[in-house]
């Protein structure tokens, strides 16, 4: 392309400092917001008003911010569920399934302690809550481990197997909490029994304590990838599987391990999402409508390029937008799905802008 004697050239970048990556992400978000204002114009709403509503509810309003933080905890955990296998070059598309099985396991613990029959029953929280979390992680890990084992042992494509396992988990959950299953709400509302108040996760200033899971995990994961031999093995496998094998890394075992870890994080997300906050396990009512927020873990993982620390602001931002978007949609009487559309547009622009991570645009004077 030539304009006024200057030629636009693309030059491959050798390295990119992280502050520049952050700047490009912010630019991408601004670009996405400007782009999406077309939709608001179409709905005869002033985009400035709309964005004000969205952002002030999500990040300023006390009640909204509380929801945002809760959503952020969930998104951060499912993002980690995606990131661990992703760093090993494997794609975990099964966070939904791991989530469901994790939640089932957690509710199984509550059920075993008699938590179904009365919502006022007093249970030893100090014992039940940790057990529920462990069960959730174990359940999710087991579900992930199946895909990891199939990959490591017979090289079954993990995208296909995790996808398929999602459906198994979905119908298993339906069986357990809806169709007269043992976890069904006695009131017959098509969801699980409600957890007794005594075993809901404690909160600090209305923020569920599961946030500490995220804060501990981000430190552990940063350390894992930067300093440990396990993290090294995962990175080596992800960057060059053949070289990893040559270096003596047992790639079969590693496949199982990363999926168990990823699944366990998804299980913890399930504990947070169903166990800690509302204390009830719900899934989409319609069997044809499948898919939930767990899939956003994939996008957040890709945007943060597998970096556990970078995943936090991304998860926080999208958590807030999903809360604020839904709020603005109701308040400004916008069409159904505007919130998801906004998230989708921003995700696309963010991924698009990663082009600038790799290339630099330069205007060069054209010589004649």
């Amino acid at each position: 392309m030539t304009i006024f004697g200057y030629q636009l050239k693309l030059v491959r970048r050798a390295t990119l400092p992280s502050w520049k990556a952050a700047v490009f992400s912010v630019l991408a978000v601004l670009f996405g917001l400007v782009l999406f204002s077309v939709v608001f114009f179409q709905a005869h709403v002033d985009p400035i008003t709309a964005y004000k509503e969205i952002f002030s509810y999500a990040f300023v309003n006390t009640y909204g911010l509380r929801l945002t933080i809760s959503r952020f905890i969930f998104l951060a955990l499912v993002t980690y569920a995606f990131i661990i296998p992703f760093r090993a070059g494997l794609w975990n598309i099964g966070m939904s399934g791991q989530l469901y099985v994790g939640a089932l396991a957690a509710f199984g613990v509550a059920y075993a302690f008699g938590g179904r029959d009365s919502s006022t029953i007093q249970l030893p929280a100090g014992l039940v809550i940790p057990l529920m979390m462990i069960a959730a992680a174990a359940g999710g890990g087991l579900m992930g481990g199946i895909a990891g084992f199939l990959k490591g042992r017979w090289n079954v494509n993990e995208i296909v197997s995790t996808m398929m396992l999602n459906f198994i988990a979905f119908y298993l959950t339906s069986k357990m909490i809806k169709e007269g299953g043992v976890f069904m709400n006695p009131g017959g509302r098509g969801e699980s029994f409600e957890l007794p108040a005594s075993i809901r996760a404690p909160t600090i200033m209305d923020v569920p304590t599961t946030i500490f899971l995220v804060l501990i995990l981000v430190i552990l994961l940063q350390f894992l990838f930067a300093k440990t031999s396990l993290g090294y093995k995962i990175r080596a496998f992800g960057n060059n599987p053949m070289a990893a094998r040559y270096a003596g890394i047992d790639t079969g075992k590693l496949s199982v391990l990363v999926f168990v870890m990823g699944g366990a994080f998804a299980g913890l997300a399930a504990y947070h999402y169903f166990g800690a906050v509302p204390g009830v396990f719900k899934i989409p009512r319609n069997y044809g409508y499948f898919g939930d927020l767990a899939f956003y873990g994939i996008i957040c993982g890709l945007i943060s390029m597998g970096n556990p620390l970078a995943a936090l602001p991304v998860a926080f931002f999208f958590g807030g937008l999903s809360i604020g978007g839904r709020f603005a949609q109701g308040k400004l009487h916008l069409g159904f799905g505007i919130d998801y559309a906004l998230l989708g547009v921003l995700m696309i622009t963010l991924v698009m802008f990663q082009f600038f991570y790799r290339y630099q645009m330069m205007w060069m004077k054209k010589e004649e």
Partner: protein, 527 residues
């Protein structure tokens, strides 16, 4: 002797055909200058003239600017200054398509073919005639005739992944010729080829020049080939032409000196090393290749400390698979491997590293290193499991940085720093990193698979000297090479391999180049 080779080849041609008179100027490049955005002056006023019917080699070490010049001639890069003309007509190549249209064909060092497609499909890929309904039958006949006329033998229906490196090269050349190339640029044409394939290629190149094609091979090493094949040589060093010679005026020593800027030792002295205890005993070993066919069978030998066993073979005769089985990367189908008195046939790769078996793979970027990793992380490939560097699962990066510095220094690696990523390293420097890494573990058994392949003269000498050093330190070494000269100058035992069998074990004192060459080609008969 080299001059003889040239004379013999010439004489053969005289008898068969009339040698084309080196005639009209086909390609002329004047004052080519290219400066990269990072300030590197890759080409500094290079003049270059190619006449029809001649082979004109461009020599130079890695980084001398050959690749840049080649890319400019092929339209991949545009020069900052200077002009290119073809048959006296000024050209302005904006892309390779312009260059192809002007009759320039290029064969890259790294083959750019689609492995899952057949040879003929690869040849017509991008050809103007390959539009709409393909007249595959007719095209196949044309290509077959073309191949026949230059003496190329290749199965047009075979899938590319089934071919050897030499055959792939032939496909690339045929592809260029079928598109009507009159000037053929070959990048390191013999780097992955076996002696036999090299011979065939050289013959075909001479046949091509007889039809008034101009051929420009770009070469970093293998000076004997330059001398026996080419008419003119242009030597580049640091982006400048340092010499323009006729091959009759040149010797290997002169060319090497012009390339490297210092004297290069071609025949390393192999010091006497007393052989020690037996470290490796291989019995009746066999394994399959990636296609599921037996790669080698019934291989048995013994290796002692301080010995180099040179396995000489044309690519695809099972030596690559043998190296992988010994390193643990490939499953043995039958037989046993005994290392230091222990059966390791089914031992994991990791335990082999721990026991002191080191492997430097031929595939340096695909297997031997991790491109996105820093040099420090690349060195960790052989140390992440070592208690000295791994304290209960936590890696000791401080210690590894020291070791990386040591390796860089000892192996004379040219790099801006230890945090440089491996994929920004040149082939020679990458190989030095890999070798330095493996050697630093002081392996008792070292399997070196094509250690000097594709390296320039200086780096080759360095790598070979390091192999001899390891031998002096009592390592047992299995050297796999397709370069007969390399095998003969380094090995204590020579083991030619042909079609999955080791033909014979010959002590170096009795090794004769002709006999071994014949054994590698499968044409050796017991007297």
């Amino acid at each position: 002797m080299l001059a003889d080779a040239k004379a013999t080849r010439g004489a053969q041609l005289q008898n068969e055909f009339v040698v084309a008179e080196a005639g009209e100027v086909m390609l002329e490049a004047k004052g080519i200058t290219k400066r990269f955005p990072n300030g590197v002056l890759a080409n500094d006023h290079i003049d270059f003239t190619l006449k029809s019917g001649e082979v004109h080699a461009v020599l130079g070490e890695n980084g001398a600017g050959k690749t840049t010049l080649m890319c400019i001639l092929f339209g991949l890069l545009q020069p900052d200054e200077g002009e290119i003309s073809i048959r006296g007509q000024k050209m302005d190549f904006r892309s390779p398509l312009d260059a192809i249209e002007a009759g320039i064909g290029m064969v890259h060092q790294h083959r750019k073919l689609i492995p899952a497609h057949s040879v003929i499909e690869n040849i017509i890929l991008g050809h103007p005639q390959a539009r709409g309904v393909l007249k595959l039958k007719q095209i196949e006949e044309e290509v077959a005739a073309l191949a026949e006329s230059y003496g190329f033998k290749v199965d047009l229906r075979a899938k590319v992944w089934q071919l050897s490196e030499g055959e792939k090269q032939v496909v690339e050349i045929l592809k260029a010729l079928y598109r009507g190339a009159k000037i053929l640029i070959l990048d390191e044409p013999t780097s992955a080829l076996t002696p036999v394939e090299t011979e065939k290629l050289l013959d075909s190149i001479l046949k091509m020049t007889r039809r008034d094609l101009g051929v420009v091979p770009f070469i970093t090493h293998k000076l004997p080939i330059v001398l026996s094949l080419c008419d003119h040589v242009t030597v580049l060093q640091r982006g400048k032409v340092t010499a323009r010679l006729q091959t009759c005026d040149a010797t290997e020593q002169i060319l090497a000196k012009k390339m490297v800027g210092r004297e290069v030792i071609f025949n390393l002295k192999r010091p006497e090393v007393p052989t020690g205890a037996q470290i490796l005993k291989v019995e009746n070993l066999s394994a399959r290749n990636n296609k599921g066919i037996m790669a080698f069978e019934g291989v048995s030998f013994i290796l002692q400390e301080g010995e180099i066993m040179g396995i000489a073979g044309v690519a695809g005769n099972g030596q690559h698979e043998l190296a992988e089985v010994l390193a643990g990367l490939r499953k043995a189908e039958g037989g046993s491997i005994n290392f230091l008195g222990q059966d390791i046939t089914n031992m994991s790769i990791l335990n082999r590293w721990r026991m002191g078996i080191g492997y430097t793979p031929a595939e340096r970027t695909d297997v031997g290193s991790i491109g996105a990793f820093s040099l420090v992380d690349n060195i960790f490939m052989n140390y992440y499991f070592d208690e000295e560097f791994n304290h209960k699962g936590v890696l000791d990066y401080k210690k590894m940085q020291r070791l990386t510095h040591e390796i860089i220094e000892e192996f004379d690696v040219a790099t801006p720093g230890i945090d440089t990523s491996a994929h920004s390293m040149s082939g020679g420097n990458l190989q030095k990193i890999i070798m330095g890494r493996v050697f630093s573990r002081k392996p008792l058994l070292l399997i070196a698979n094509l250690p000097a392949q594709g390296l320039d003269v200086g780096a080759t000498e360095f790598v070979q000297r390091k192999l001899l050093e390891a031998r002096s330190n009592q390592a047992g070494i299995i050297l796999i090479s397709e370069e007969l000269d390399e095998i003969l100058s380094l090995s204590d035992w020579v083991a030619p391999m042909y079609e999955g069998k080791i033909v014979d074990f010959i002590p170096i004192a009795e090794a004769k180049k002709e006999t071994i060459g014949a054994m590698m080609a499968g044409s050796y008969q017991e007297k």
